[in-house]
Subunit: 290 residues, 4 copies
């Protein structure tokens, strides 16, 4: 006990002081006006510890997509991505990067559009590529090439991440799909309860952009492009979406596009999504070009 | 794709329906009046899935203690213990049990007492043993013997859990200490800022109940009693409390009291506390008598 | 450094002494003559640390089956099951049990029969149930009921373990299948290179005893029997047998027989088989009745 | 089942064919004559899959040191480093590198010298730096700078790796110490049983090169050099060397040299050493400059 020279309490106070004074990673939420969508869209961004001090440094970027009826806050408030990143950067398992979560959802009852693909009257993919990504990558110090850009997401956002990785192979170096909505069979489409029913429009867009069908129908040139991306599929053994993820992995293997595949314990839950970050963030880090 | 007979959406609706109709685990908060403390005390309790249907069944119990300035809600709102339990019970890694988190804290600024030991004017240990535990174990269907009772906690609650396991070896079959405040050196006591300063009283109670000193000073009879409990100490390599946990483990080993010890990656953070549940809940489950 | 009272070297010597004098777990190989097979059969057995001292104690048993062209030594020499057990028992993650690996293989070139099912001229399943199991469970102190008996295996032995669990639901409380040969499609049968070709006979027996077909064709009574067993399927994402394991898991889920499923990183390799023991041994331990 | 177009057996045969025809990683053992030692010394080397085909490519290198009485074969025969590497490279968790294990041991009874430091009549460190390393890095296509060179080892080799990282900070980018013999207290020296007793000479060299003392006595310039290396210390909670590893970590923290520290379940066993490779190889991979 003699060797303890600073008291616990003093240490605590020191920690608090340090936390206030020293550079820390931080999370911010901002709003962007979209002409494509004709609406304001929020997003939340994680900036790494060194961001403020190293003013000439540019960073890799991860776009992290939320699930149905959630918003850009979900990965931060319940997914605790800020805390996971801080820990993995401290141990060296993840590299410092900027993480951006755009809002592509909200409650259907409150009239919000959900979905990452282009839908009638709501061209979200167009918005993402022509407005959101350019805005983010000029507003923040982001390297801004394929070699330093990744995309991940959960459930609807896992399907969005996979779809973006497929359609825009020129944009992303790696894709990590968490409990992903990889496809919906045609008869699984939600029936419109009224004209313009947003849930029905969403499910149709997921059918039209089936990640499984995309691989199955890819010609050799397209497969070659898919091989320029690193793929990781992660889904729980109790997840009701597991069979879709299996079909996707099998299609990828058949197409000879390398894809990591894991089935861990769990269902379609935040415990699963959150724990996936511990694999996802090192994976995208490894695949950023150094 | 032909084998998909229920649409995703129908499945989702089914899930929602099931969730509302089928038996589920649940979390409740209640209040108990303490004569010992002269105050109302809240607590939060997790009841397993089978609790309502199996009306004759009694369960093991885990007392799960929170940290300084937190309350009985912390393990549920930020520790997500409800969701972790559901997953581990589903996979068989944890057994169905009742988890109880008593309130032993709150903000010092708002005048709340913090701490698990008996302090002048606030005999929390006495309250716990003579009022709280008997109340809980009669109100809920709890087996109520040492072989089916465990205690765990984080930080101040990790020290509390360890101290309770030491002082009350007749009560608990296992102790799992997470990032625990095992001791404070004498010169580490907070200086009272005013008479009756609750932080100063707390730190003095932790000094007086040093878990390290307790083992070092134990006679052979006491050591023999300590050996009737299963011990597990889990602390991060970046935790400012690590050295105290090392001292505790070394004292236990020297006293020939078996104790599992782990140092995983992380600091004194909720990411660490939360992840410890995945080891803690199986550990206490294994050590309940079947 | 002052607190070090025994030198490292003295400690090492102490360890050696202790290892020689104190009770240790051990591994033995024995031979049994089978009338059914008309041949001598070897087996290797792990006896836990307490076995010799606690002469009245009976133990649960795990039958651990090897893969094609391997023998009863494989789980010990390359799978290191002895060392894994010792570690998991020390930490409490596995209970003390007896582990038995029968020889059901060897090199085809040297003329050895391979396989766990009844084949023309080589009724291994009959041997296992009527000669081997009774011999083992009388020779060693084994509890000898379903509640304390489990079966596991790798590759051909994973298929054997699953098949035994299906055919003999009255014998086993749990089955853990590692990288299992769950089935072979009819056209996948090896063509006999000569009459009595043992590889061709083996592949036909695996086809006839397809674990997938067994579940798909089970009636409700059979399904109810399957539900009395705990199932765990574990297969690597790069394993050429993965699709068969997926089919098995999907058939089990459709039949409403609970089955844990994991796909971890790896191929059909000893690194995978070995690492599965760290999940397998705690799984069967939890499912032994206490 | 209809989708299975290749039979299992055909696949197996394909695998065998592929294994024989396609490029594979490989392990070789060679002998080098040392003038410094006046003796031939063996070593074993792992060459990655692409080594033969990519004849212009140079690789990072990991020196992997064995323990007392073991030889250069131990990490391959019992540590299975070849198989672990293949798996981690396939999943992207480790980068292709060359792994070299020099022989610094063998049975004392058979008269072999053990140890990595310079000893009277056996200047192993001098041999390593002036003969072995230059030989290896010219014979194989190795990048050959600090940024692409790492050192790791177990037990006596963990102490050797740490010592080499300390003494030769200009050589290594990272050090991963497994269950390391970080120091021996003076009274722990083996007493010479005869003049020139090699065990006594070894223990004295470990005392003289105490990794703990080295950090405790380092001046600020030396600490600054230590900070140019990435450090990782990994030791089991039942290892008789744990306290020495704790002392080393505490000394590093006090010296403000960043060091990762883990205490996992286990003793001074091959199960522990082997499992450490799954953390070690990704760690050194991350710390190679890209």
């Amino acid at each position: 006990m003699k060797r303890i020279t600073l008291s616990i309490i003093a240490l605590c106070q020191l920690c608090l002081v340090f936390a206030q004074w020293g550079p820390q990673s931080k999370t911010e939420s901002h709003t962007l006006h979209s002409k494509v969508l004709g609406a304001d869209r929020e997003y939340t961004v994680y900036l790494p510890k060194s961001y403020e001090a190293e003013t000439d440094r540019k960073y890799p970027v991860l776009y992290l997509l939320h699930g149905m009826t959630d918003t850009d806050k979900a990965w931060f408030w319940r997914g605790h991505v800020h805390e996971v990143m801080d820990q993995l950067v401290a141990s060296g398992e993840a590299v410092e990067m900027i993480i951006v979560s755009p809002n592509a959802g909200g409650s259907f009852e409150e009239g919000h559009w959900n979905g990452y693909f282009d839908m009638p009257d709501w061209k979200y993919d167009t918005f993402f590529c022509t407005e959101f990504l350019p805005h983010i990558e000029s507003k923040f110090r982001i390297i801004g090439d394929k070699a330093h850009r990744a995309v991940s997401g959960l459930s609807m956002g896992g399907g969005g991440a996979t779809g973006y990785g497929q359609i825009h192979t020129e944009l992303f170096s790696s894709v990590y799909a968490i409990s992903a909505l990889m496809s919906i069979p045609q008869h699984g489409a939600a029936q419109p309860r009224e004209p313009g029913d947003k849930l029905a429009i969403l499910t149709q867009s997921v059918i039209d952009n089936s990640c499984v069908k995309y691989v199955e129908e890819a010609d050799e040139q397209r497969k070659e492009q898919l091989r320029t991306v690193k793929w990781f599929v992660d889904c729980g053994d109790d997840d009701f979406l597991l069979d879709r993820n299996i079909e996707f992995f099998q299609a990828m293997r058949k197409a000879n596009v390398h894809c990591e595949f894991r089935v861990r314990d769990g269902g379609h839950t935040w415990e699963y999504f959150h724990s996936a970050l511990y694999t996802c963030l090192p994976f995208v880090s490894r695949n950023f070009e150094k």
